[in-house]
């Protein structure tokens, strides 16, 4: 019974109360968020070190239901996900402060409290020792993220919230059914590397349970038929879309899927029961479908959302193949995709706050107006497409090798095709940003854009910016008056610094992956499962 | 066939009572229906207790007795029936005082108006 895993979950949870208590005093409230983020990062870092040293700290909170305990256990896979979530929470907190204040959003107290609660639930999902604890935290994650989805309280947000709740709780019900079947079939729900065993006894029951579990986790992993809530949830503020809908929420779905394949069923049972093919096909279909639909999106965030759906399918495919290298690739793709996608979302958020840009075809000339941000955007977009030297390439490489080793040529082809689709998606944006002139910026970049937009006239270059966009650029314009009009002075540091940090993270993960603890944890996890 | 007759009567009373209770609009008639319904059940119990040539279960008298237990049960059930009817009548008096009518549809209409 060690307190470390408990500390990792309790730190953000305690922050929730503190944030709610100080919700009317912004600076104290933000201080609490940062303190909690740092504490969690420290705890997860230490946890990772302890786990890499071979220990498996465990904390049991007593038998909860049907002699299954509510307990946390840090194993390499869990520690990796927790470390990733903690690091990105810190970065996102900085970004959130910049975004919230730049955009002076309403009810920020509730926002930060719900954020901390979501992270606490994600930590619970990461460190859960058995399927039931994971389910409990999974449901709490839904409850904690709901206020964030409906943050702007507009009708569109309310509708998105309703779809979000219906899908995720529907998934929760399927998950509960699945884990009940597993409990009845195998007698236990705790995670055992390499599978619980005894599941193949009754193949029909085992297949039904696997189907239900995949459906349950598939909702949050946004596998095709169950993915429609993710684009709808883009109505949430960008930091929410960034951390939650690119990292915490959807990754907990993918993580759950991984747990089922590696620690409940075990790769051999998945292969014997012939479950590998259907799951992998579902993932491949999702990859390609989402990739294609992403091309048709006009709003940046919805395009990124569909690209997330497609990228998550990479992870699902890796786990679906249940082959050593493919699973390793999938585990690596979790942090890789997290860093890349979060930087894209941050840039999208920055563009929205600073220049009121939300649509893909409004991105002309942004390269000049926000050179650093757009550079980060370009680099990480390339990484998503699988360009070397950025994180995406490394995990995709292992996925490709893994699918070839599992002699699934079709799936390898699907991976490459998905990469091409990403290219087709991002290249027009990058070209518009860098190589097409910015009609607005004929004079000094900042003031000209500010004044013309301010008088509400629709200059020829500025196409149908959404009404929210134009009122935003008035504010951006207004700030332009105060800020000296130096070209590179493109955005508030609170927004720019996290963007750069996360982009650098993606590059480091691409250049020297094996030096980072995430890589070692993934290796350790795979070694534990595949022996 | 003859000794089956009281059971049939009991079932008939139960049926009639329920029919009046459900169908009639007048609240007092509903309470009456309830009483008829309960009497049917009591009749069932008492006929179950009867014996061929049995006399009242009184220690003073000799001879085969009718079964005392169902009769005692029905004594209690009658007391319960009376108290239920008393509460129902008290409620009826209050409804009449409040709405001036004892027809359920009229009362319900008055409540709907009151609610707007």
């Amino acid at each position: 019974m060690s307190l470390l895993p408990v500390a990792v979950v309790v730190a953000p949870a305690a922050a929730v109360l503190a944030i709610l208590y100080f919700r009317d005093r912004p600076n104290v409230r933000e201080a609490w968020t940062f303190a909690a983020a740092l504490a969690t990062l420290g705890a997860t870092g230490w946890l990772a070190r302890v786990v890499l040293a071979g220990a498996r700290p465990e904390a049991v909170a007593g038998t909860y239901v049907a002699d299954v305990e509510l307990s946390l256990r840090a194993d390499p896979m869990g520690a990796m996900f927790a470390l990733l979530a903690a690091t990105l929470w810190l970065v996102t907190s900085v970004y959130s402060v910049g975004y919230m204040r730049g955009h002076d959003e309403v009810s920020q107290g509730r926002y930060f409290a719900a954020f901390a609660a979501s992270i606490a639930a994600t930590m619970g999902v990461a460190l859960a020792a058995n399927l039931l604890t994971l389910f409990v935290c999974y449901e709490l994650l839904t409850v904690a993220t709901y206020p964030l989805v409906v943050h702007s309280e507009s009708d569109e947000a309310r509708a998105a919230g309703r779809t979000y709740l219906l899908y995720t709780l529907g998934g929760g019900v399927a998950l509960l059914a699945g884990l009940s079947l597993v409990y009845v079939a195998a007698g236990t729900l705790s995670f055992v590397p390499g599978g619980v065993g005894g599941l193949a006894a009754d193949p029909l029951l085992a297949r039904a349970a696997f189907g239900l579990l995949v459906a349950g986790f598939g909702v949050k992993t946004a596998l095709v038929p169950l993915h429609t809530w993710l684009p709808a949830a883009m109505v949430a503020p960008t930091p929410v879309s960034g951390l939650l809908h690119a990292v915490a929420v959807v990754k907990s779905g993918a993580f759950g899927l991984g747990r089922v394949v590696t620690h409940v069923y075990g790769p051999e049972t998945v292969a014997d029961l012939g479950l590998s093919l259907p799951l992998s096909t579902l993932a491949a279909v999702t990859m390609l479908y989402a990739g294609v639909v992403a091309l048709r999106q006009t709003r940046i965030k919805r395009a990124l959302a569909y690209s997330t759906v497609s990228q998550l399918a990479y992870i699902a495919l890796g786990f679906g193949l249940a082959e050593r290298t493919a699973v390793f690739g999938a585990l690596l793709h979790v942090p890789a995709h997290a860093f890349m996608k979060i930087s894209l979302f941050f840039v999208a958020g920055l563009l929205y706050v600073e220049s009121g840009v939300t649509d893909v075809d409004d991105m002309d000339g942004l390269g000049r107006r926000h050179p650093v941000a757009m550079a980060a955007f370009a680099v990480t977009a390339a990484g998503l497409a699988g360009f070397p030297l950025v994180a995406g390439f490394v995990s995709k490489w292992y996925l490709l090798v893994g699918s070839l080793r599992a002699d699934a040529i079709g799936f390898a082809a699907a991976l490459l095709a998905a990469g091409v689709l990403k290219l087709l998606l991002f290249w027009p944006m990058i070209r518009a940003a860098f190589f097409r002139g910015d009609p607005l910026a004929s004079g000094p970049a900042r003031d000209e854009a500010g004044r013309t937009a301010a008088d509400g006239g629709a200059p020829d270059g500025e196409s149908s910016a959404s009404t929210a966009g134009s009122s935003l650029s008035d504010r951006a314009g207004a700030r332009a008056w105060e800020a000296p009009s130096r070209v590179w002075r493109e955005s508030a540091p609170a927004l720019l610094v996290p963007v750069v940090a996360v982009a650098l993270g993606a590059i480091v993960l691409g250049l020297v992956p094996d030096r980072l603890p995430l890589f070692d944890l993934a290796t350790e996890a795979v070694a534990e499962v595949f022996g | 066939m003859l000794e089956r007759l009281p059971y049939l009567a009991a079932i008939a009373l139960v049926g009639i009572g329920l029919a009046v209770l459900v169908d009639d609009e007048h609240l007092v008639k509903k309470v009456l229906g309830l009483n008829v319904f309960q009497t049917g059940i009591f009749l069932f119990f008492v006929t179950a207790a009867a014996r061929e040539g049995g006399s009242a279960p009184n220690v003073a008298k000799a001879g085969p007795y009718a079964n005392p237990l169902p009769q005692v049960l029905i004594l209690t059930a009658i007391v319960v029936g009376v108290s239920v009817t008393a509460v129902a009548l008290a409620l009826l008096v209050r409804i009449h005082a409040e709405y001036g009518t004892l027809r359920e549809d009229a009362v319900r209409a008055a409540i709907e108006e009151g609610r707007e």
Partner: protein, 487 residues
């Protein structure tokens, strides 16, 4: 050892005091009721502790031996309910000090109700069960009529008519059971019923189950509940919502498990499962379409009791433990919800879902409490709502009845639909946020709600405990021991 008869005698005798005292000196009804209920709670906890420690407390009223006299038994199945009744009565009493009706007569009825309900839980004589059902019924009809609105009188009358029909049908079933076996004691009935002629035994079981289904308000027989709970004063609605149908469901479970196993299982199980399924679906649908929140909560009870009945029909040890946990959990959550509805109606004069818009800003703490209770009713872990449902679903899967399991799990989604609507309106709706509170609420009212919310969270892990308590009783029942108790 305490004679369980005291558990019934104390509230019944105590019920005479408030009526008289309040006529002599006004406002003495409440303290008297508090005194009696404190004594009742101490007795209940004491007896329950003994019963749950493994040796059930049993006695024969007036010393008349078993098959003839009325036996009283507090075992692992009835002990939790005896304690629940006593503690729920205390919590709601705290509320009614300022919130609810305060006349002496009301507190007499209050104690009568508690006495009747405890009687239903402890008796082992089926006719005695009828008498206690009627005592608690009569008290609840009177309490529903306490509200000064005219509609309360009509709702109470409707409740009286339907409730008495239900109790009389149950009496009819007792008649058939007596004719079939010649005895009224549950243990003797269980021994004699399988040998009895089938039509009589089936008629007895059918009528008794039908009668109790009216009291539990399963779907087609539920019409009395929404009107009664909406028209009754909030304190009364909370108490009835928590206890009235819960105790009737307990009695139904006691009959199905201890008296009628082996008698025409298939027919009655199918019928009850049908009723339960109808209740879950129709209850949720009706709840979704109802405008007033009190009526919504009443319809939600239909669905929740449908789930409990599924647990009793599946009848594996896990499912039974689930039903007991869900009965207790639901009582706590539903009582808390009705208290919140009463509190908000009193402080902000809001009653319908539309009026609940933007309430979270106006009264954040009460709304947070309501949110926890609503999440519990939906069945989100770590609340007690989830524990009960999970056990029942697990039991259903173990027994291989897939439709039952699917039904129980789907009820979470139904719950989300009709309760999520209210929560969304409260937290995300844009009501006139500056409308300040209109009425005052006493600390007692807030305390009662707080107790309910804390209990919802604290009882989350009570599953294994209840399973442990019930194991000896259920094994005893399977082994054919009378009432599952070693004589």
């Amino acid at each position: 050892m305490i004679d369980p008869a005291l558990l019934v005698a104390v509230p019944l005798a105590g019920s005479a005091l408030p009526a008289v005292a309040s006529r002599l000196r006004p406002r003495t009804g409440w303290p008297l009721a508090l005194g009696v209920l404190l004594v009742q709670s101490v007795l209940a906890v004491w007896v329950a502790a003994a019963a749950l420690a493994g040796d059930p407390v049993r006695t024969q009223v007036a010393g008349i031996p078993a098959p003839f006299g009325i036996g009283l038994l507090v075992d692992a199945l009835s002990a939790p309910f005896v304690v629940l009744i006593a503690l729920a009565a205390l919590a709601v009493l705290a509320y009614t000090r300022r919130g609810g009706p305060r006349s002496g007569a009301f507190y007499s009825l209050y104690l009568l109700l508690i006495g009747g309900l405890t009687g239903v839980c402890v008796t082992t004589d089926v006719f005695n069960l009828y008498v206690f059902l009627e005592i608690s019924g009569l008290a609840s009809y009177g309490m529903v009529a306490q509200a000064d609105r005219g509609a309360a009188a009509l709702a109470a009358l409707k409740y009286l008519l339907v409730g008495t029909v239900g109790a009389s049908l149950y009496l009819f079933g007792v008649g058939y059971a007596y004719v079939a076996t010649g005895t009224l004691d549950m243990a003797a009935l269980r021994a004699a019923l399988p040998a009895a002629s089938d039509p009589l035994a089936l008629a007895a079981l059918g009528l008794m189950v039908l009668g109790l289904s009216v009291k539990v308000a399963l779907f087609p027989l539920h019409t009395w509940k929404p009107d009664a709970y909406e028209a009754a004063p909030p304190g009364v609605a909370a108490l009835l919502a928590a206890l009235a149908s819960t105790v009737a469901a307990y009695a139904l479970g006691r009959l199905l498990l201890a008296v009628f196993p082996g008698v025409a299982e298939a027919v009655v199980d199918a019928a009850l499962l049908g009723l339960a399924a109808a209740s879950i679906v129709a209850g949720s649908l009706l709840a979704y379409r109802s405008e007033s929140v009190a009526r919504l909560l009443a319809y939600s009870s239909l669905a929740q009791f449908g789930i409990v009945v599924v647990g009793f029909v599946v009848a594996t040890p896990t499912a039974i433990a689930g039903s007991v946990v869900h009965l207790i959990g639901h009582a706590v959550m539903k009582a808390g919800s009705f208290l919140v509805v009463g509190l908000l109606a009193r402080t902000h004069d809001v009653r319908t879902v539309a009026e609940y818009a933007g309430l979270a800003r106006r009264s954040p703490y009460v709304s947070a409490g309501f949110a926890v209770l609503a999440l519990g009713l939906i069945g989100i872990p770590p609340t007690v709502g989830f524990a009960g449902k999970f056990y029942i679903a697990l039991g259903a899967i173990e027994a291989g009845s897939w439709t039952a399991a699917a039904l129980v799990l789907a009820s979470t989604l139904f719950g989300l639909v009709y309760l999520g609507r209210v929560l969304e309106r409260m937290y995300v709706g844009e009501g006139d946020t500056h409308a300040g509170p209109t009425g005052a609420a006493s600390p007692g009212m807030y305390a009662a709600v707080a107790v309910a919310v804390l209990a919802t969270l604290a009882l989350g892990g009570v599953g294994p405990l209840v399973e442990g308590w019930l194991a000896p009783v259920l094994d005893g029942l399977d082994a054919g021991l009378a009432m599952g108790v070693v004589p």
